[in-house]
């Protein structure tokens, strides 16, 4: 019995920690309708600035907090001014991608400056503990709770009673109307980013002190948990974010209590999916608001795709087909094999994110489903590898579509959040479902690729195998886009309400897109499994999903040729830039930012 009290207290304590990030996210979402994926990076920056202040400059705590708040606010202002403001009139997806790019850049800069080694960030508070239940809490717990609640209260008062607060609320409700009323929306955005960043920085500092440990990996985790808490509480709702955070902490804690530690995040993400599906506006969202009328073409950059003449495509295909006969190194071939595998994933993602507009951030899960299915079919049931890979594709199509289907009624950024969560859930299920997936030990000894009984082990034959698979899938997808389904998918992407009014069932067509896309991704995962011979739950991670999304943006949303060009570019360029090893992710983030800023429709244009 007393244990339940402890679990409750622990849940609230960790919820407290999440709240600090979630409040900043909620504030930004409230005004900009933007999920700021860079919030965790600001939190990271805050933690390291705090480290410099405490360890190098020996500042006292109040001064440390002020230093961190001011420095982080400055970072926030810079992000707003140079990263996001230029995108104001851009497509809705642009700022989201920009925040992802900014987070890469910030994380990497911190890593390059401070090295990836974790550091101790000693607490500057006296170490007294108060007994509560079976455990204890310290002054830092109280400070974190204090900062969380105070900032939420202050924000509430500020938003309600100050002039700038009024402007912020007006802007949140109706940007255009607010502008007409003379609200300086840029100033509002600045204020919001400054406040949110200051909060983010302070939370990084406090959490770093709380665990006496900071490292560069903390950024993504903070963002993930913050986003979950914020969405659960109702995106844009500041008090809701605090309650959502506490709820998330409790659910995790009780999850650990009942099922064990390894299920913890599973419950966090399940909570998110359940809330998204049942109450997409969050638990505490105002009862029912009329859906905002999306103007046409606001989600996807309007563009004319670059038309590549058929003969040029034929020549390019022919060149790549005979490449192994030319004197190129196996290393180049292996790189192109990787590009084909990523290309197939990108084909899948460009269909669901580009053609039908469901921007998935969890696409690596489809790879994992395909890979595990194919590996287990061939290992356990001795299915020939060629068939097993197709089986992987089919399983990915079926299971992937089934998992995502509850989210079909979501729109815009919510789809991304839901797919992110589903991706994490798949990975955690793989980790925990040991009887089938062998858990963290993974599956080893997966037979190599083979076709009609012949093992394909030389890079040349593997290259041909994956290249042909990719070309076939690309041709099929091209054919799909040319059919009535192609235009139906694109119509749903451009305006789902008008599409429904003309008889297009969203569930039906989103399912078909995910079935087709799931197959392509599953085949890619299946081939990868046989290529690697060993997979575990870490093989197909979130980084893959983000990489695939960048490929798709680079190539042009929905653009089949673009997906392949993008895959070759994003696999090839890092190989070329191997010399700049430590700087690669930094360069990658900057490229993403420049792309979003200057060519949001991608290299070959949106289809």
């Amino acid at each position: 019995m007393s244990s339940w009290l402890d679990y409750t207290i622990n849940g609230l304590i960790v919820g407290n920690v999440y709240a600090l990030v979630a409040v900043g996210l909620a504030l930004i979402f409230g005004v900009s309708r933007l999920i700021n994926f860079a919030q965790g990076s600001i939190y990271l920056v805050g933690a390291y600035i705090g480290w410099v202040a405490v360890v190098q400059l020996h500042t006292p705590l109040p001064l440390t907090i002020i230093v961190v708040a001011v420095a982080a606010a400055l970072v926030g202002l810079i992000i707003e001014r140079f990263g996001l403001r230029p995108l104001q009139n851009s497509v809705r997806i642009a700022p989201l991608l920009a925040t992802i790019g900014i987070s890469f850049v910030l994380d990497q800069l911190v890593m390059l400056t401070f090295s990836p080694n974790p550091r101790a960030l000693p607490s500057q508070l006296p170490d007294v503990r108060f007994q509560i239940g079976g455990g204890t809490i310290g002054p830092l717990d109280l400070l974190i709770a204090g900062v969380g609640i105070t900032s939420a209260l202050l924000l509430f008062v500020f938003l309600r009673y100050s002039k700038l607060g009024w402007a912020i609320r007006a802007t949140a409700q109706d940007r255009d109307a607010a502008m007409q009323m003379g609200v300086d929306v840029n100033r509002v955005n600045q204020a919001v980013f400054g406040i949110a960043a200051a909060l983010g920085g302070i939370s990084g500092l406090l959490v770093g002190m709380y665990y006496n440990q900071i490292d560069t990996a903390m950024s993504l985790q903070a963002t993930l948990k913050g986003v979950v808490a914020e969405v659960v509480g109702g995106a844009g709702n500041v008090p809701g974010a605090v309650i959502g955070s506490l709820l998330l902490g409790l659910v995790e804690s009780y999850g650990v209590a009942v099922f064990g530690t390894s299920y913890r995040n599973l419950f966090a993400f399940l909570l998110l999916v359940v809330v998204l599906v049942l109450r997409p506006n969050g638990l505490f969202a105002s009862a029912r608001q009329a859906p905002p009328e999306p103007l046409t073409g606001t989600f996807i950059a309007p563009s004319r795709p670059v038309r590549i003449p058929r003969w040029a495509l034929l020549i390019a295909t022919a060149v790549f087909a005979i490449l192994p006969l030319l004197p190129v190194s196996f290393y180049v071939l292996q790189t192109l094999i990787n590009a084909s595998l990523l290309g197939m994933l990108a084909l899948s993602l460009t269909l669901v994110a580009g053609t039908i507009g469901q921007v998935s951030l969890g696409h690596a899960a489809l790879l994992a489903i395909g890979a595990y299915t194919s590996a287990l079919l061939s290992l356990t049931f001795s299915v020939p590898v060629g068939l097993a890979i197709i089986g992987g594709g089919l399983m990915s199509a079926a299971l992937g579509t089934a998992l995502i289907s509850p989210s079909f009624r979501l729109r815009g950024h919510y789809v991304s959040i839901a797919t992110l969560a589903i991706g994490e859930i798949v990975s955690l299920v793989i980790l925990n479902w040991e009887s089938v997936t062998r858990g963290p030990i993974g599956i080893s000894g997966i037979p190599p690729l083979s076709l009609f009984g012949y093992e394909l082990v030389s890079p040349i034959s593997i290259y041909w195998f994956s290249f042909i698979a990719m070309v076939v899938l690309a041709l099929l997808q091209g054919r799909l886009l040319g059919s009535h389904l192609g235009r139906s998918f694109r119509a749903i992407r451009d305006d789902d309400i008008a599409a429904r009014a003309y008889g297009l069932s969203l569930n039906r067509y989103k399912s078909l897109a995910f079935i087709f896309g799931g197959f392509a991704a599953g085949v890619s995962g299946g081939i990868a499994a046989h290529l690697y011979s060993y997979i575990n739950h870490e093989t197909f991670n979130t980084q893959q999903s983000i990489l695939a999304l960048t490929v798709v943006i680079l190539g042009g949303l929905g653009n089949v040729v673009g997906a392949i060009v993008g895959a070759v570019a994003l696999v090839g360029l890092p190989e070329v830039f191997r010399i700049a090893a430590e700087y690669r992710i930094l360069i990658y983030g900057i490229v993403l930012l420049l792309l979003v800023r200057f060519r949001p429709q991608g290299l070959l244009g949106t289809m």
């Binding site: 046409t296 054919r479 059919s483 009535h484 389904l485 694109r490 451009d494 429904r500 003309y502 008889g503």
Partner: protein
């Protein structure tokens, strides 16, 4: 007039404390054209949303021909033959004019959308990829249809048939919307301010088109601010204010109704009558 196509009884929709549509009754006979007018915020578009399934009423019923269609999904209503245009103009920006209008014909696709339960969608995917002769022929037929429909707009759209909709002028986008609605071969057409943002010449052209459609026997529900057009086209006019129906009858009669004048004057919007929203 003949049989009743559309019949609304006590249709009501509330948003929080505001009743956007308040117990509206309406009967629309086959081949009839009824206009709904009223000041901004009177609930006209909400009424359209309720009829076309984009919104659910809190009370009341909608009947279309012989069946109660209250709460039907928009896609089902489209299949029943109800087509609409949108107040703010909702073309599919990245689709060509041809594809936009072909989407209008979506419910008429038969060969590629076999009515088989459960595996129907998978068959549709397979047929779209394989494209047997029947599917190709159907697609060709619809494309010819689209060209015929576009020809109704003279040289406005035909030369731009392969251009993406986002590149069109505002007026042309409205035309594409109407063409898309016509491609559905609707039995009931709901037009939400088809002339909004059009200049007098374009308005006259649009008025001519609507008159043609009416003459062809199409049943039409029209929201329109331009009273002159309303007077010329409508068999009956319904005036809404604050969600309620405040007047109904032939154009001239409604025009002189003191309640109507009061409604417009009361909102200080008399000048709006002749201008776009």
């Amino acid at each position: 007039m003949g049989t009743t196509m559309l019949s609304l009884r006590g249709l009501t929709r509330r948003f929080g404390g505001l009743t956007a549509v308040d117990a509206i009754d309406l009967d629309l006979a086959k081949g009839e054209l009824i206009s709904i007018i009223g000041p901004n915020g009177a609930g006209k578009t909400t009424l359209f949303n309720l009829v076309t399934g984009l919104d659910r009423p809190d009370a009341g019923t909608v009947r279309f021909e012989d069946q109660d269609i209250t709460g039907f999904s928009p896609e089902r209503l489209a299949a029943e033959g109800i087509a609409r245009t949108f107040q703010l103009g909702r073309v599919f920006g990245n689709l060509s004019v041809m594809d936009n209008v072909l989407i209008g014909a979506h419910t008429r696709l038969r060969a590629v959308r076999p009515a088989v339960p459960v595996i129907g969608p998978l068959l549709e995917l397979g047929l779209a990829l394989l494209r047997p002769a029947s599917v190709k022929a159907e697609e060709e037929r619809l494309r010819e249809d689209v060209k015929v429909i576009l020809a109704r707009f003279g040289e406005r759209l035909l030369p731009r048939i392969d251009q993406p909709a986002y590149s069109l002028s505002y007026a042309n986008r409205r035309r594409v919307e109407i063409a898309r609605a016509l491609a559905l071969k609707p039995r009931l057409l709901l037009l939400d301010e088809p002339t909004a943002g059009m200049n007098p010449t374009e308005t006259t052209e649009m008025q001519g088109l609507v008159a043609e459609l009416k003459a062809e026997g199409l049943t039409i529900l029209l929201i329109e601010h331009k009273l002159e057009m309303v007077m010329r086209l409508s068999d009956r006019v319904i005036v809404m204010d604050e969600g309620k129906k405040i007047a109904e009858g032939p154009g001239e009669q409604v025009r002189g109704d003191p309640k109507v004048i009061e409604a417009y004057l009361g909102h200080g919007l008399t000048t709006k009558q002749e201008s776009a929203a």
